[in-house]
């Protein structure tokens, strides 16, 4: 089984999948913010991208920058097979936990379960 992904790691990797060929740092940051519905620190996204790249789940390439970013280069990220496996495993794990339960849960279900 591949490494277990945290929720934020999944958010970053799914943002890369959604963005396709446009998955560079700033676009990933904005996509993650939209999905998690809160402000996210650029440092948190950068640290996650670096960690996932070191684990071999992502690959990156550098391309020339645009005038609005002062010509500074952009790093584009791409999901690797190991990353796709980890994402699929993460989904399977959650799916197995929820299987057979009706959503949304009601408070009474939680009460009965705790008795």
């Amino acid at each position: 089984m591949a490494d277990t992904l945290g929720t934020f790691e999944q958010a970053v990797m799914l943002a890369i999948v959604r963005l396709g060929n446009n998955a560079y740092g700033r676009a990933i940051l904005n996509e993650v913010q939209v999905r998690v519905k809160r402000d996210v620190a650029a440092g948190a996204v950068h640290a996650t991208l670096s960690r996932l790249e070191k684990k071999g789940m992502l690959a990156s390439r550098v391309e020339a920058g645009t005038p609005v970013r002062g010509g500074r280069a952009r790093r584009f990220y791409k999901l690797q097979p190991q990353g796709a496996r980890a994402l699929n495993d993460a989904w399977s794990a959650v799916d197995a936990l929820w299987r057979g339960l009706k959503r949304p849960l009601k408070g009474s279900v939680r009460l009965r379960a705790s008795q």
């Binding site: 560079y24 740092g25 700033r26 940051l29 904005n30 620190a41 650029a42 440092g43 948190a44 950068h46 640290a47 670096s50 390439r61 550098v62 391309e63 020339a64 920058g65 645009t66 005038p67 609005v68 970013r69 002062g70 500074r72 280069a73 952009r74 790093r75």
Partner: protein
């Protein structure tokens, strides 16, 4: 979109200390693009600068936070020992805690210099270590005082320099932090192995 707006140049300089050469150009470019295209337009110049500083602080905390926690832990451990085991001769304790602090600043500077290839990164890492440790040290000392304030402890606090020392010493470590961080940074930048730049542009 505010194409010509510029984030605080000091913030960009400090950011460089917490990133590898490989990442500085792309990350600072991402922040600049977001600053110009989104943050300035929606929040105004002053709040956009605050946003930029918050991002820089986030990178600083992720990098120097562990050094700051370690430094604060050494300070609080020394404080707790002085309060619980009073002594007339503080020489050995002072030597150990001072050496530990110097080691932490040197290590933080060495790592920053080695990573960025920039000597000044060590001074910034030392400053960040001492600066980020300040609230932890003040809060920690306050918590120690809340936990232990019986007459024996109060007498031990007086005997070890008083509360004034507990609350001024952390401030006095900022300058040595910069100095030893700078030494570490210079060593790190000089001795780092050559690395591929990772800046190969695709066609």
């Amino acid at each position: 979109m505010t194409v010509n707006a510029s984030p605080p140049s000091l913030g960009e300089l400090i950011l460089r200390a917490f990133l590898t050469e490989r990442d500085f150009e792309t990350v600072s470019g991402d922040l600049l693009e977001e600053y110009r295209e989104n943050v300035c337009a929606t929040r105004g110049a002053l709040r956009a600068d605050l946003w930029y500083w918050a991002q820089v602080l986030g990178f600083a905390w992720r990098d120097a936070g562990s050094w700051a926690i370690l430094f604060a832990a050494v300070f609080l451990a020394r404080t707790a020992i002085d309060w619980h085991m009073p002594t007339a001769d503080f020489h050995t304790r002072s030597a150990i805690s001072t050496l530990a602090a110097v080691g932490i600043f040197l290590a933080a500077g060495l790592r920053a210099g080695s990573r960025s290839g920039w000597s000044a990164a060590g001074a910034i890492a030392g400053l960040a270590t001492a600066g980020l440790a300040l609230p932890l040290q003040f809060l920690g000392a306050g918590m120690l005082l809340v936990l232990w304030h019986d007459p024996t402890i109060v007498a031990a606090i007086r005997g070890s320099g008083g509360l004034e020392e507990v609350y001024t010493l952390p401030l006095l470590t900022v300058l040595p932090g910069i100095l030893f961080g700078a030494i570490g940074g210079a060593l790190g930048a000089r001795t780092r192995p050559s690395r591929p730049s990772g800046h190969s542009l695709s066609p």
